[in-house]
């Protein structure tokens, strides 16, 4: 199957995910699709598999225009995919999950014997040890991933898309997968392979397309002709992106938050770092590396199994989220503003004052609009929240103003430590700068910030130091020298294990 992606564009409110992307996947090749977080890979895959519809451009299959209204259409056209997120029915058996798109029917009834036999065949290609009659919810994460892959193979599609298929499986299983992919290639199937692991890509793929900021940075280059460093350069871009907030003068203050040997029920192992007063400490890592989960552990939303947390030198234990906020003054701004951060149907006034309701209430325990306004007004003014009135519903504000409300709410609570998760996702460039200035501003007032971001320029603009997380462990710590190119190269080096990581680690330890 020949798949042509012809100047496809896709925008979401406030952000252009894909801005005119063109390249071609040929039959009989394994085509790598690479790029940093947010470069547009997953959006592109969702368009090819019919989950999203493109705003502009065309998708051609063997030269004919394809117009998918749903994933069902894409499957009918011979396209199958392993998506990044898990897509299995927990209470169904392994075999039924694998065959669900094409359950064998005999005399109108599902033929389970046949279904399990067929599922067995596809499962055996990767891992013969999984029982097709086991319930999916009882499997390990790695086993589920293998079931996902077997499910995609079962369609015997002309185009197979794999989004980070090896993220959670062992090397042995990955090798089995690669053998299958090579065989499919020799049968003339087209395969698109998304991975952050450069070694894999170089060993397996024929050509590579690199996306950067929703545009093509390298289109279908032969892997054999690309060096490792040229691929990384295409991913991060050559131009120096100048920090827009100017130099930060930040005195090495006393430690505000110290974490030693932390292990959590979410899977962190031996995490240690120090956040100093007034510092912006960056935490970089790929999606799923455990950054958000670390934030959740620090605000008491996960069980801590081992290790120590010290606040201003004194060891603390955090019972739950309200304990973290009220007693220890640690705040957290979720990356999911709409679902976890704000109450969209409530006015700005209430959203800002929510953290201090008990403190605001009058002696009789009454909470009046006046009291809320008195607390919220100076903050709204200071943060320059653009609104006709504090009575405005937060849901009606722009993304940038919503984020300002989130920050205002924690300033109202006068937190000492603020963890900010992906502060500018879905926010336009100008407001983004305003948010960056605001974050820098609050640290000058003494708040210590832990910044979680997948946005490399943002990280290098804002952070004073950058921690790199991979697989729920910290794998690197870099002093930010605010030069984009060498910094991003070193950070990516920590993430892409192998030769480059070794080099970067040496650099880091020497520097």
């Amino acid at each position: 199957m020949r798949v042509t992606i012809d100047s496809i564009g896709k925008s979401f409110p406030g952000v252009v995910a894909l801005g005119g992307v063109s390249f071609e996947v040929h039959p009989g090749e394994i085509h790598a699709l690479m790029g940093e977080n947010g470069a547009g890979k997953s959006t592109l895959i969702k368009i090819v598999t019919g989950v999203y519809r493109p705003d502009r451009g065309r998708l051609l299959i063997d030269g004919a225009a394809a117009n998918f209204a749903s994933p069902r259409d894409a499957i009918a056209a011979g396209i199958s995919a392993v998506h990044q997120e898990r897509n299995l029915i927990p209470r169904f058996s392994v075999g039924e999950n694998i065959m669900i798109e094409n359950l064998p029917i005999r005399r109108g009834l599902v033929d389970y014997g046949e279904a399990h036999a067929q599922a067995r065949r596809f499962l055996d290609m990767i891992d013969p040890s999984i029982d097709t009659r086991a319930e999916v919810r009882r499997l390990s994460v790695a086993q589920m991933q293998i079931v996902e892959i077997a499910k995609a193979l079962s369609l015997e599609a002309g185009l197979l898309l794999l989004d980070e298929p090896t993220a959670s499986i062992t090397d042995h299983e990955a090798q089995a997968l690669f053998a299958v992919l090579r065989r499919l290639r020799s049968e003339g199937k087209a395969i698109v392979f998304v991975s952050h692991k450069l070694e894999e890509v170089i060993a397996l793929c024929d050509r590579v397309t690199v996306l950067r900021d929703g545009k093509v940075a390298a289109a279908g280059e032969l892997i054999a002709a690309m060096s490792r460093s040229r691929i990384v350069s295409a991913m991060i871009g050559r131009e120096e992106r100048v920090a827009e907030i100017g130099p930060r003068t930040f005195a090495r203050g006393t430690p505000a938050l110290e974490v030693r040997g932390l292990a959590t029920s979410l899977g962190h192992k031996d995490v240690s770092f120090t956040l100093r007063q007034g510092e912006i400490l960056g935490l970089y890592g790929l999606v799923g590396s455990g950054r958000t989960e670390l934030a959740r552990a620090l605000i008491g939303d996960a069980r801590i199994l081992a290790g120590e947390i010290r606040l201003k030198g004194a060891p603390i234990s955090i019972a739950d989220v309200s304990d973290a906020v009220r007693r220890h003054r640690i705040g957290y701004i979720s990356e999911d503003r709409k679902n976890e951060g704000l109450i969209l149907a409530h006015p700005i006034r209430a959203n800002i004052a929510i953290t201090i309701w008990p403190r605001l209430a009058s002696r009789l325990g009454l909470l009046t609009r006046r009291l809320e306004e008195r607390a919220a007004t100076p903050l709204a003014r200071k943060l320059d929240i653009r609104t006709p009135s504090l009575e405005q519903q937060v849901g009606k504000l722009s993304g940038g103003n919503q984020q300002k409300v989130s920050i205002a709410k924690w300033l109202a609570a006068s937190v000492d430590v603020l963890i900010i998760d992906e502060p500018t996702v879905g926010i336009d460039i100008r407001t983004k700068t305003a948010i960056h200035e605001l974050i820098a501003e609050i640290t000058r007032a003494g708040v210590s910030v832990m910044l979680i971001s997948s946005d490399m320029p943002e990280m290098i603009t804002l952070a004073d130091r950058i921690l790199v997380m991979r697989d729920f462990a910290l794998v690197g710590e870099i002093e930010n020298e605010r030069r984009y190119e060498p910094m991003s190269r070193r950070i990516m080096g920590f993430i892409h294990a192998g030769l480059e990581a070794g080099e970067s680690q040496q650099e880091a330890s020497h520097g």
Partner: protein, 304 residues
Amino acid sequence: MLAVAIAIGFVILSLLSPAFLTEYNLYVMLRSFCVVLVVAFAQMLTLAVGQLNLAIGALGGLVAIAVGGMMEKLGFPISAAVGLGLLIGLGGGLANGLLTVRTGINGFIITLATASVFTGINLGVTESIPFYNLPGPFVAFGVGRFFAVPYLLIPPVLAALLLALFLARTAPGRYLLAVGGNAHAAELSGIPRDRIIVLAHALSGLLAAIGAILAEAQLGSAQPTIGADWLVMSFAAPIIGGAALTGGHISVAATALAVVLVVLIQNGMVLAKVDPYWVQFLLGALILAAVGLNRLRAVRVEAA
């Protein structure tokens, strides 16, 4: 576990009350079992896809009146009236499903609204006056029995067997549970999610119609109030039977056993001359206990 509870209840009742094991009492119990079972199945199907149907009773009332009117006022033959009644149920369910899927509004609100619409039509047409002169064979079916087994039991048992087969062994049935289990994943697997949700609602409406016609035969008259008291029971049985409110996990057999248990308790309370109003109380307690037990199990699985 339900089966054990039922067995214990059975033994206790037969020891305590000599009236319990009489042929007539068994007949009475089985007879009260019929309508409740079908109504429970109607709710179970919407629960299967992670939805719910508050309009079951209202739709049932409408069907009962329509069938009664067709037979008594319009002189339709029984088969035609019943057939059309089933179609009304199917259509009502279809409307619920289509409205839910097309508007994207929560099924709770949609069925709350359509329930009121169905009841409105029902009362508007009948002005709350029942139809008492139903055809002889129809009424005879409602009271007929073979020893302790009422004829009325035949349709619910058939429905149970067909449903079990449908959910376990047909592609649309499996799709129904897949959509309930993980709607997003089902959609990415090429399952037409919206059509499956509509199917669940349509079948739910059809079962509500069957329940209504059975209730009509059982009473021997078409009361506009048929269905008015179905709601709690329709949720109670599937939930006591272990259904997940989030969808994707239901059991025909366990739902049926839950109905048996409830009927047994009701019967026991009647034999013990307990005020029937306390049955409501006990039903509520039973739902709470069942949900609590499910939760406990889920917590234990997570901890393991």
